[in-house]
Structure formats: C-alpha cells, structure tokens
Symmetry: C2
Subunit: 152 residues, 2 copies
Amino acid sequence: MTELNLKKNHNQEQVAFLEKELRYISGIIKQKGRKILSNYTVTPPQFIALQWLFEHGDMTIGDLSTKMYLAFSTTTDLVDRMEKNNLVLRVRDEQDRRVVRIHLLKEGERVIEEVIQKRQAYLQEILVNFEAPDVKNLSMLLQKLHVEMKED
Amino acid sequence: MTELNLKKNHNQEQVAFLEKELRYISGIIKQKGRKILSNYTVTPPQFIALQWLFEHGDMTIGDLSTKMYLAFSTTTDLVDRMEKNNLVLRVRDEQDRRVVRIHLLKEGERVIEEVIQKRQAYLQEILVNFEAPDVKNLSMLLQKLHVEMKED
C-alpha cells in the first residue's frame, strides 16, 4: 500500500452533511451581510472590492479583477463609481509611472470597519446559547479548515 | 438582574476571530463553487436559483426574487434564460390559473447534483488531515450555529 492509499477517507454521509451546513451558513452570512450593507450607499460588489483593498493593501485593477472573478471592464466601472464616492483613489506608482494602483481612502476604511463590527455583533447574538469551550473549539476547527483550504 | 443580563457574552476577540474565519471560508467556498461552475453553461446566479428550486420545490418568481434578494425583473430574465436552456419550466397552478410557478426540470437537477458532488469531493480532499472525531465535532458545532442563525 502506498502512502496515498493510507490517506483518511471520511464517511460519505458525514462529508455531505458538512458540505451542506457550510453551504447554508455561507448563504445566511451572505444574506445577513447584504442586509447590513443596505444601510450604506455601497453595493455588495463594491464592498467585496473594499475588503480586498483593506486586507491586501493597494492593488492594480488587473489584480482586483482576478481576485473578484470579474471582467477588467466591470472592475474599471466599479472603481470609477467608488472613486466618485471618495471610497478609493487611483494612485500612480512612483517607480513605474505606467502602473496605477487603487488606494483605499479613510471613508472606505470606515465603511469596512462599521460593517465588520455589525457582523461581529450579529455573531455575538447568535452565539448566546454556546458555551465558551464550544466557541473556542469551533474557532480552532474552522481555522484548521481554512489552513487546509489555502494549501489546496 | 433580569434574565437578559444573564445571557452569555463571549470574548470580543474570540468572536472577531470566528467572524473572520467564517467570512474567509465562505469566500473560498464561493470561489471554489464558481470554478466548478465554469465547466457548466450555468451562471452563478442561475445556480443559486436552481438550488432554491431543488430544496424548496416549485416557487413563484416573486418568492424566488425575495429569496435571492433580486429585483422581480432580474429574476424574470434569469428564469427566461433557464427556461430556454431546459433547466426549468413555467407551470400554471391547476387550482388558481393566475399563479405561475417555476418547476425544476431533470437537466437542472442533474447540474445541481453534479456540482454538489464535486463540492463534496473537494471537501473530502480538504479533510484529509482531520481526525474523524474532529469532523464529527465540526459538523455538530456548525449545525448548532445554523439552527441559531435560523431562529434569529
């Protein structure tokens, strides 16, 4: 038997159940996020773009469209509207003037932080019937899942 | 002290961490789902509509647009294209001929089932370094989270 054959294979039903729970929870989080956003002048795709810039720093439109699985022209329109609303700014690279990057402005940062705080408050509410060790355990298991997903 | 004040309040940092892990994992699952879908002629919003019909049975366009947070006209366009591709069919209610419901066809069901099977296979891969009790534990905790989210 090779090492590959020794890899753990989990019960099919268990995996199907887990896939379903993850899919449903993702859906609820997404809908909840949209409800929170409806109080802002930011659309869901704009919010996703703001998050990328918040977490990865300045990015070119090319990078941003790759990350967001959007066409270059769609991303350009998105950035145009965000620039008009003072959420972001196009900045020319000082070393290579041909390169333009999108820079997150204070107002964009504020929107991100407020929405994330509201999501945390929602989660705090949801966790009211969880014991502290369960929250810790769930965090650890999700972190492990996240790491494995990234390594894939 | 009222009963409300006795409600558990979890550590702020722990909740922030959990929110971030859930958000990242949702994002990866979404991107993974899009990659799987790119082998099909179905767009992501079409797939979400197919899933609603798969899980809740026949629905009116009104119900579907509410569930998907889309405008009625957008949902109508979506259904038109899916009907053209033989994924769904508009069916008139026998009791009340004014009511039209969207019905999932065999081809639509096949697409759903194939994509879900591929997601399960992906998850099986991801879980290779998880012990069986961890998978069981994660499933239980996510199920509890899902129940609490629904009751909200």
